[in-house]
Amino acid sequence: MAKIHVLAPAAHPIRKAADPLVSDERSRAQRFERIFLPHLDAAYDFARWLTRDERNAEDICQEAYLRAFKSLDSFEGESGRAWLLAIVRNTFYSWFRKNKPDAAAVPFDEDGTIAGAELEAPIESMDRILQQRDARRVVNAALERLPQEFREAIVLRELEDLSYKEIAEVANVPIGTVMSRLARARKLLLQHLQHTRES
């Protein structure tokens, strides 16, 4: 399975140079550059999706990279991308709380049943639905209708191509929760798409 192995051996810097402070500083900068800058598009896309705004996405990105740099020493993970996206997400939520204090978190019933969400429901012609001329609009409308947590799982899995473990890291939930969110999200999406076709 293709996993992201961003870390080169230098992730554990050799601290034997004549001026350890200086070499430390340089290797920090180089690590930062190597581990996180390649994921700028992912960070920006995710921030833009969270904020739904280009300019705020840029601000969140800059702030997140600054945070990533400041906490670089605590990074010993496997995936720079998942770590960075987790910071983008946290940065977004602290920004969101500051800027939209009135927006209460939408109550979300993780274990609640989804009406009629049986997978046995006739799921045919999905291909046909997705090949119609308005497929783009239909797909985005279906995504839009998902609860935030479900949509986030789908975005990280399908659009950022993260593994379950990485999604769990970004969303700060157990892997089991990631799996159930994905399964539920997909059920809902299929239902929404069927429904669109029928109406």
């Binding site: 930062f32 800058l37 600054l66 985005n140």
Partner: protein, 252 residues
């Protein structure tokens, strides 16, 4: 493997999260069960549809990496200033270091400061203040505090409008040295960014229209009005800096 178990693992199978024996077991079941195979086909189609149609991938603006490098480089070690700035060079941008080098060059070789050279000086002045964490000599959001303070140190009095309503609250002011003379620097905020506006009188009269350039991760915008030079610089994006300049100009 029965249908219930297959359905339970279908997502992990689709997402390639199963180990090899687990995946083979699903393969075998799908080959012999039309219903599960249909369910899997629907999931695969859904995945393809999302990946093809979701309005998600836009990609970062082209200059965002440079702005991040500039900001991280500037804020990384504000206390360690000059000696260690060279070590940021591997980061590519090292806006501050590069600017200081070209600033020195400009001072040495230029008798007539062109806009290009002034731009270098403005960038250097801004970067120097950011690196040294010396953004503000007089910290106040009150224009009636900042303006008299600047006037008392300078031989002119820059306009200090209150732009909070336009989204650019005043943070304070400081003195800089540009174009071979002391100048006023007004410090405004734009969301999470700092905008420096350098102001000084110009011997020649006549207004000029705003010009803009983007360099070393900074955006710069300058114009001349009523015998004063105005140079605005920030690591915010060009559109916001333009909005700031227009708000400032129209408040005068």
């Amino acid at each position: 493997m029965d249908c219930t178990e297959t359905q339970r693992r279908l997502h992990a199978y689709l997402d390639q999260e199963l180990d090899a024996p687990g995946a083979v077991a699903i393969d075998q079941h799908l080959a012999s069960c039309a219903r599960c195979k249909r369910a899997f086909a629907a999931q695969s189609a859904l995945r393809a549809g999302i990946r093809r149609h979701a309005d998600y991938h836009h990609g970062a603006p082209r200059d965002l990496a440079q702005r991040i490098r500039a900001r991280v480089g500037a804020e990384a070690k504000p206390r360690r200033q000059w000696l260690h700035i060279g070590h940021w060079l591997p980061m590519g941008a090292a806006a501050a270091a590069a600017a200081v080098i070209s600033w020195t060059a400009a001072i040495q070789y230029a008798n007539v400061p062109s806009d290009q050279m002034l731009a270098e000086q403005v960038i250097a002045g801004h970067a120097r203040a950011m690196v040294a964490s010396r953004l503000i000599d007089v910290a106040s959001s009150d224009q009636h505090t900042v303006k008299p303070w600047l006037s008392s140190k300078l031989d002119f009095s820059p306009p200090v409008p209150d732009l909070a309503g336009a989204g650019f609250p005043l943070a304070g002011g400081r003195l800089d040295y540009l174009d071979k003379r002391p100048v006023a620097t007004l410090v405004y905020q734009s969301r999470q960014h700092v905008i420096d506006l350098f102001v000084w009188p110009d011997a020649k009269t006549g207004d000029t229209r705003p010009q803009a350039l983007s360099k070393q991760g900074y955006n710069v915008r300058w114009w001349k009005h009523g015998g004063m030079n105005y140079w605005a610089i920030s690591d915010t994006n060009a559109a916001d800096l333009k909005a700031f300049s227009e708000a400032y100009a129209s408040a005068n």
